[in-house]
């Protein structure tokens, strides 16, 4: 009886070994193929699950959302560096920035964002006289509003909302009147000093169309910035927005209905 069992176990182990070797070989062949066929193969990494390169005019059947987890952000500034590098953002202008909030034990709120947080918050603030009760960082970027004020006021339709929900700027049409800059409640826009046209964060629309995450999301070392498809019920953003978290948007009274959400948003945040 025991001998029979032993032989069955050996048989099973041998079967697993064969399967293991088979899998290793398959993986090696696939890996080797990826190494010898570099033409864009690495780009189809599907950083956004289910999202492959989009060749059509708009991304179909997706509803994207961006979630910033304030409880995770450490204010390292990596996102700002990635953004500046991705878009060659001119000095003194910001497509994204990170604010530092400090609340003392007298409930005074101190906010700053030197150089938009680009250099990271490596030094503590020296001008807070009372003991600090709490401190946190708040990354800011375009809110991709469902009812965008910027697109509403643009006199020539250069700022427009795509069918897949992105607010973009056509630099070849923009007249540079700055009306959109005035209308954005979040000060996410600026006039590019070289192109003389309106500019702002696009959530890296060019990357998303290839199935890649926005640059700032992909570099965040603590996963404070999250991006995904709300139509994908397995996506993290879907779960976060469905589950009972403390989650809100900036300036909800403006009625712009942002697609940018904040996890753990504090009432002190402006």
């Amino acid at each position: 009886m025991d001998e029979l069992k032993l032989s069955e176990i050996k048989k099973e182990i041998n079967k697993d070994r064969r399967a293991f070797i088979k899998n290793v070989l398959n993986g090696t062949i696939a890996g080797s193929l990826l190494m010898v066929i570099p033409a864009g193969a690495m780009e189809f990494s599907e950083q956004i699950p289910g999202m492959k390169e989009e060749t059509g005019l708009f991304i179909e059947k997706k509803k994207f959302a961006y979630v910033v987890d304030i409880t995770r952000c450490i204010g390292c500034g990596s996102c700002c560096v990635a953004d500046k590098s991705e878009f060659k953002v001119p000095d003194g202008h910001y497509r994204t920035w990170v604010e530092r909030y400090i609340i003392d034990d007298h409930d005074n709120v101190y906010v700053d964002a030197p150089n938009g947080g680009l250099d990271g918050y490596t030094e503590p603030r020296e001008d807070v006289p009372n003991p600090v009760r709490d401190t946190f960082f708040v990354p800011k970027l375009c809110n991709m509003c469902e009812k965008p004020s910027c697109a509403q006021v643009c006199p020539v339709g250069a700022t427009f909302k795509t069918k897949d929900g992105f607010i973009l700027v056509d630099h070849k049409r923009c007249v540079g009147c700055s009306y959109c800059v005035q209308a954005c409640p979040y000060s996410a826009r600026f006039i590019h000093p070289e192109t003389k046209t309106a500019d702002k964060c696009t959530w890296c629309y060019h990357r998303i169309r290839k199935g890649l995450l926005p640059a700032c999301v992909s570099v965040c070392p603590v996963h404070a910035r999250k991006f995904g498809d709300l139509n994908d019920k397995k996506s993290e953003v879907y779960k976060l927005l469905r589950e009972p978290h403390v989650i809100s948007v900036l300036k909800p009274y403006m009625g712009n209905k942002p697609a940018l959400h904040y996890l753990g948003l504090r009432r002190e945040v402006v």
Partner: protein, 393 residues
């Protein structure tokens, strides 16, 4: 950020990083200022052409030419401000229907066409007479301006009068929309607590009215000097006082409303009015340039003063009100941008003298209407020597 003229010079509190730039600077201060003068000057002409007040006849035609001269320059600050002025016609050719700004070109063009037609009909008889005396290039110009018609018979002139009355009557609401609409451009920006008030178009229209009346009084006194029609001047001063009371009251009511409501915006607005705007608003706009002209105008209207004093003080009060409205435009346009949308801080801003949207280009743009007015006077005489107060224009 160095080298950018629109960059704020100092910051108090926390301002969003992109709010360090004052994108709408002097040019956008001048735009509503000039548009307001246009509306006010047209109102002066309407007192005669629409409401048939004979006492305003001496300045009626001049007011129309004054309106045209300023209207011709109303778009210059806008064009100078645009990052891509060469694309400005896109606003007319492919406008976005949801944008308040996209409508300006149409309203401007409509009013411009109506005003030009009104002036040409009013001057048709004069132009035909000038054409008959002129030679060379001037003859061609007069032929074009008189619309190719030499008929100045009583029937034709009576028809002209009907056209003039119609254009004046329709022009009045159009110019109200033109000036009020500029206020709407600001009032419609909900992101800015200083601008977003339904009172904004009313305030812009009223302040525009007083700047137009003041402009007419100042230039009428400068051009005519001792030959000023005192009855007309006193009438203008009376209207100026009345409209000034309305304009100033609404300006103060708006601040009072913000303070009384004390919404979450008030802290930021309070910081703004008692911070970067303290001097330009409380000291200049309210203190020096509103209180003093108010008492001067009250004295001129309630006390029977000698003509020379009416001329002198009327001139001073009008000049001060012209400055008051300019300060009001500055405080609204620039002031609204000095308060960061973080509502936690304010920035300070001083314009440069020589740069694209600096003080020197602003002065040039404000001198241009006067140059245009001078050129217009060569073709369209402001005052005709043979004209008596009983004749119809």
């Amino acid at each position: 950020m160095k080298g950018l003229a629109e960059t704020a010079t100092a910051v108090a509190g926390y301002a969003f990083p992109n709010d360090f730039h004052v994108h709408w600077s002097l040019m956008i201060v001048l735009y509503p200022y000039i548009t307001g003068i246009v509306a006010g000057a047209f109102f002066v002409s309407s007192l005669y052409y629409v409401f048939h007040w004979q006492r305003f006849k001496p300045v009626a035609r001049f007011s129309l030419l004054f309106t045209l001269a300023f209207l011709a320059c109303a778009t210059l600050p806008l064009l100078n401000h645009l990052g891509h002025p060469e694309r400005n016609f896109n606003m007319l050719l492919t406008p976005s229907p949801s944008s308040a700004m996209a409508g300006f070109g149409y309203i401007y063009a409509l009013f411009g066409a109506m005003l030009t037609m009104q002036i040409l009909f009013i001057y048709r008889k004069v132009l035909v007479e000038q054409k008959n005396q002129a030679t060379g290039i001037m003859k061609i110009i007069y032929t074009i301006l008189s619309m190719g018609s030499d008929n100045i018979g009583s029937k034709a002139l009576a028809l002209d009068q009907k056209v003039i009355s119609f254009l004046s009557a329709v022009g009045l609401p159009v110019v109200c929309i033109l000036s009020g609409y500029v206020g709407f451009l600001f009032g419609g920006i909900k992101a800015n607590p200083l601008w977003t008030t339904p009172l904004m178009p009313v305030i812009f229209l009223l302040s525009g009215t007083i700047s137009g009346f003041s402009g007419i009084i100042v230039f009428y006194l400068i051009i005519k000097r001792s030959k000023v029609d005192m009855d007309c001047l006193r009438g203008c001063i009376k209207f100026l006082w009345g409209f000034f009371i309305l304009a100033f009251s609404f300006e103060m009511l708006e601040i009072g409303m913000h303070a009384y409501q004390s919404t979450h915006h008030w802290d930021a607005l309070h910081e703004l009015f008692w911070g970067p705007l303290y001097q330009s608003f409380w000291v200049y706009q309210v203190g020096v340039l509103s209180i003093i002209p108010f008492f001067i105008l009250m004295g001129l209207n309630l006390v029977r003063l000698p003509d020379i004093m009416v001329k002198f003080f009327g001139f001073i009060a009008s000049l001060m009100i012209l400055c008051q409205v300019l300060f009001m435009r500055w405080n609204v346009v620039i002031g609204g941008q000095l308060m960061s949308k973080s509502e936690q801080g304010a920035v300070f801003f001083h314009p440069e003298w020589i740069e694209k949207e600096g003080i020197v280009p602003a002065i040039i743009i404000m001198i241009l209407p006067i140059v245009i007015l001078f050129v217009l006077s060569r073709v369209f005489p402001f005052w005709l020597p043979a004209e008596s107060s009983t004749n119809s224009s």
